[in-house]
């Protein structure tokens, strides 16, 4: 089925559209993908309808390779298992993750540091009386720890791209090794269970990847943004020397799929 491959111009798409499209492009056909609620659902749906028709989507509530015809509002949604291969539960799908079955996962977070450590637990001082409580880890940290590749979708703000996150909820490329808490390469903590880690962070301003030392660098900036603007919205010393250019804009065909086929009800898209 041929689709309109014309690139949309700035103003013809919204930031969220580009997030979904850029995330979808991270999927390789045949990947087993763990996806969470929201943008990840748009991304895996778009990937399956375009470049990765045989990708398998797993939701942590227990849906394996579902083919929803109505967009779920969360991973526990009844819609998730329409035409699924298996409807099981957390124990099955997280064991598949631990067994090494998962190629790629889409995740989110409130804060990220330059090693890809992510915080979804709390802002400010953590402790028995926390300063500002967020949702907590959920499966984020498990999936980030044990999938081959993970892609984070985040809002770009100076207070969210930080030298050090207030709480390491989800393990990046350099992580605390307990009991000392010394920051070491992830591989030293995971040993034989080490399979990879954060592949990309996609914000509303750019796409970031990680170098040989596990440090984040700017890969592409979104149409309408500049590397300088991104630096201004990042509180650590971001490497922009490897930037490849502009993020490829959504095509009109991709936008059509997103708005007419994947989320026609406007659940996540405006």
């Amino acid at each position: 089925m041929s689709r309109d491959t014309t690139l949309a111009k700035v103003g013809e798409f919204k930031p969220i559209d580009l997030l979904a499209v850029a995330a979808a492009r991270e999927v390789t056909d045949g990947d087993v993908v763990f996806a969470g609620t929201g943008l990840p659902m748009l991304a895996i749906g778009l990937a399956q309808l375009t470049t990765a028709p045989t990708a398998v989507c797993i939701y942590e509530a227990g849906s394996v390779d579902g083919r929803p015809i109505s967009l779920p509002t969360s991973v526990g949604d009844a819609r998730c298992i329409y035409q699924a291969s298996v409807a099981s539960g957390l124990f099955d799908v997280f064991n598949q993750l631990q067994r090494g079955v998962v190629d790629l996962a889409f995740l989110g977070g409130a804060e990220v540091d330059k090693y890809g450590n992510v915080n979804t637990t709390g802002m400010g001082k953590y402790g028995i009386v926390p300063e500002k409580r967020l949702t907590g880890s959920g499966g984020n940290s498990d999936i980030n720890g044990l999938a081959r590749k993970t892609v984070f979708i985040m809002v770009q703000e100076k207070r969210r791209f930080r030298e050090k996150v207030d709480f390491v909820t989800s393990p990046g490329w350099r992580v605390p090794k307990w009991p000392s808490g010394e920051m070491v390469p992830k591989k030293e903590v995971y040993n034989k269970a080490f399979r990879g880690g954060p592949e990309a962070v996609i914000s509303n301003m750019g796409v970031f990847r990680f170098d040989e030392n596990g440090e984040m660098y700017l890969d592409t900036y979104h149409p309408g943004c500049t590397p300088q603007q991104i630096l201004e919205n990042c509180s650590f010393d971001l490497n922009i020397s490897r930037v490849r250019g502009e993020t490829k804009a959504p095509t009109l065909g991709e936008l059509d799929l997103l708005y007419k086929t994947i989320d026609p009800e406007g659940i996540f898209l405006p």
């Binding site: 942590e60 509002t73 969360s74 028995i128 409580r133 406007g266």
Partner: protein, 324 residues
């Protein structure tokens, strides 16, 4: 072991003592035992210790209403309808509730170990994170890991070496809650439990718990439910009592029966971010109402019929969900 006893909701909930360790069926805003949660608040339960694979509207409400002292879990929120558990956040930030943080797998494995009769399970999950920071072991800081409470292990976790294949991993101690309250689609009159759709972590939560209250949309004959034993999850000897309560998970959803009532949850989230707001909500929706039947009357048949699932899909095809 005797067959489970059939009770009404008030009787079933009355069995749970203050201070009990509790867990629940479901996942975030799906298949939560809401009718039982309302009844617990109505009965004024105190100092509950929640250990749940994940939280949701049910636990945020229970915490907001002042019934909970300890919350051990990994996540709380209302999905699309409220991005955090604001009642937990407020109570925790005020020092009124102790949070013990885990990852999803870590707390799932605590429950799974309990369900298997094991003292712990190993896992590679979420190593290299602050859930394992010894300075953040709140139950220890609160002096609760001294062995005096048999339900609280002396250590939050252990890091151990693998003698068989090399490397390190975690041991997560078992959780065996005093009570599990599970809302399911169907139970037989002798206690056989059938869960439809995604199973979430119901099997682990039920089997880990010492006592189990099953609240079902419908109680059916054992003969009927036993015609397809491969579709059943739990046998009667693993259940303490059964309660029939149609729509008993509202406003959370129930696969094959009804949709999550997103509007209701969104209103709950918006109006209960302050303690005053929560108190007013609890008065209006719980204390001013004698029972769940009256609650359902107030929701009204028109709304409930919008939520009702289409049997071809297991979800409602008529409800308006998005902005378009």
């Amino acid at each position: 072991m005797a067959k489970p006893v059939r009770m009404n909701l008030k009787e079933a909930v009355a069995q749970i003592p203050d201070g009990a360790m509790l867990t629940f069926s479901g996942f975030t805003i799906w298949r939560r035992p809401m009718a039982a949660v309302y009844e617990m608040i109505r009965q004024g339960k105190k100092n509950l210790h929640l250990v749940e694979v994940n939280g949701g509207t049910h636990s945020d409400l229970l915490i907001g209403a002042g019934c909970v002292k300890i919350w051990e879990s990994c996540w709380i929120g209302h999905e699309l309808f409220g991005k955090i558990g604001a009642n937990l956040a407020r109570r925790a930030e005020a020092g009124e509730v102790i949070i013990e943080d885990y990852s999803h797998v870590q707390i799932l494995y605590r429950m799974a170990a309990g369900s298997m009769g094991l003292p712990y399970l190993p896992t590679y999950a979420s190593m290299g994170t602050d859930m394992l920071n010894p300075a953040y072991d709140h139950l220890k800081i609160a002096g609760l890991r001294d062995g005096s409470n048999p339900k609280i292990p002396k250590k939050k976790y252990e890091i151990v070496s693998d003698p068989f294949y090399g490397g390190e991993l975690l041991h997560m101690p078992a959780a065996n809650p005093d009570w599990c309250i599970a809302h399911v689609q169907m139970v037989g009159e002798e206690g056989t439990v059938r869960v439809d759709g995604q199973l979430y972590s119901d099997s682990e939560a039920i089997k880990a718990s010492d006592n189990v209250i099953i609240v079902a949309e419908q109680v059916v004959s054992e003969d009927y439910i036993r015609r397809e034993p491969t579709r059943n999850l739990i046998a009667g000897h693993q259940v303490s009592c059964i309660v029939e309560q149609p729509w008993g998970a509202h406003p959370t959803g129930c696969f094959g029966c009804y949709e999550t009532d997103g509007t209701f949850i969104q209103n709950f989230f918006k109006s209960t971010r302050t303690q005053e707001g929560l108190d007013a909500w609890v008065k209006e929706w719980i204390h001013d109402i004698p029972d769940y039947e009256t609650y359902l009357e107030r929701i009204g048949i028109t709304r409930l019929e919008q939520l009702r699932a289409n049997p071809a899909f297991g979800y409602s095809t008529t409800i308006k969900r998005g902005t378009r």
